[in-house]
Amino acid sequence: MKSAFVGILRKKWILAAVIGAVVFSSAYAFAATLGVTSNSLGAGNSAVASCAASVTAAYTIAYDSTIPGYRVAGVNINNLTACSGKTITVDLTGASNVSLTEVTYTVLAADATAGNKTITVGGSINAASVTGVAVAIAG
């Protein structure tokens, strides 16, 4: 019996098939013991690029009698040459870095050509209360 079994195993194609069967059955065994269901998931890595290495924010102001004083009327963002179609988010921050207002704008091709855009800031944001600005460009 033993010699007959060894004889069969010596046939290499049977040995290869047995190895293959063992490998696959092991794989299914591991999968079965995992017992986790999930929606499809893919993972990978990609470098996050930005269309502008740096931008400068400059303010435009307008008098507002309700303050009374000057409010921030707009924020000009430069270095937008490569940012057509991207979305700019600007937050004007005040004391304790609290956002006083947030505005978003999608850069038009004309803005990219011009290289800069003044984004309108609504409301009555007292210019004197603005202590910082945060800018994000995504898309």
């Binding site: 293959g20 996050v48 435009t60 008098y63 000057y70 945060a134 994000a136 460009i137």
Partner: protein, 126 residues
């Protein structure tokens, strides 16, 4: 090695390669993103001094703003003259020179506001 053996091994290798290929094709593309934050610099926080000139109708024609910190050089000064309701009745602006700035600027006022109606000056430098 028999052909059947070669075929079996080929199938096994092919299955394994396909598994690796499936993982390799899961490429991830990322949208661009950039963000940052910067403090808004305040060039002057201790107030200004104002003097004005009037025309023969006693309307304000110019306002000279002095006591401006040197850090404001290169900026643009805007001034609004308001009445008791805080409504704007006159305004003007002046560019502060980047070099040779002496700490004051004279602004021509549009609107010819009667001096008797001016209750406050509102100034901003940006």
């Amino acid at each position: 090695m028999k052909l059947s053996t070669v075929l079996t091994l080929f199938v096994l290798v092919a299955v394994g390669a396909a598994s690796f290929a499936a993982a390799a094709t899961l490429s991830v593309a990322s949208a661009s993103l950039g963000s940052g934050r910067v403090a808004a610099a305040v060039c002057d926080s201790d107030g200004f001094t104002y003097t004005h000139t009037l025309n023969t109708s006693h309307a304000v024609t110019t306002v000279t703003v002095s006591g401006i910190n040197a850090a404001c050089a290169g900026g643009t000064l805007q001034i609004t003259l308001a009445n008791s309701s805080n409504a704007s009745i006159g305004s003007g602006s002046a560019a502060l020179p980047s070099s040779g700035f002496l700490g004051w600027a004279t602004v021509t006022i549009a609107g010819a506001p009667p001096s008797a109606n001016v209750t406050s000056y509102r100034v901003a430098i940006s």
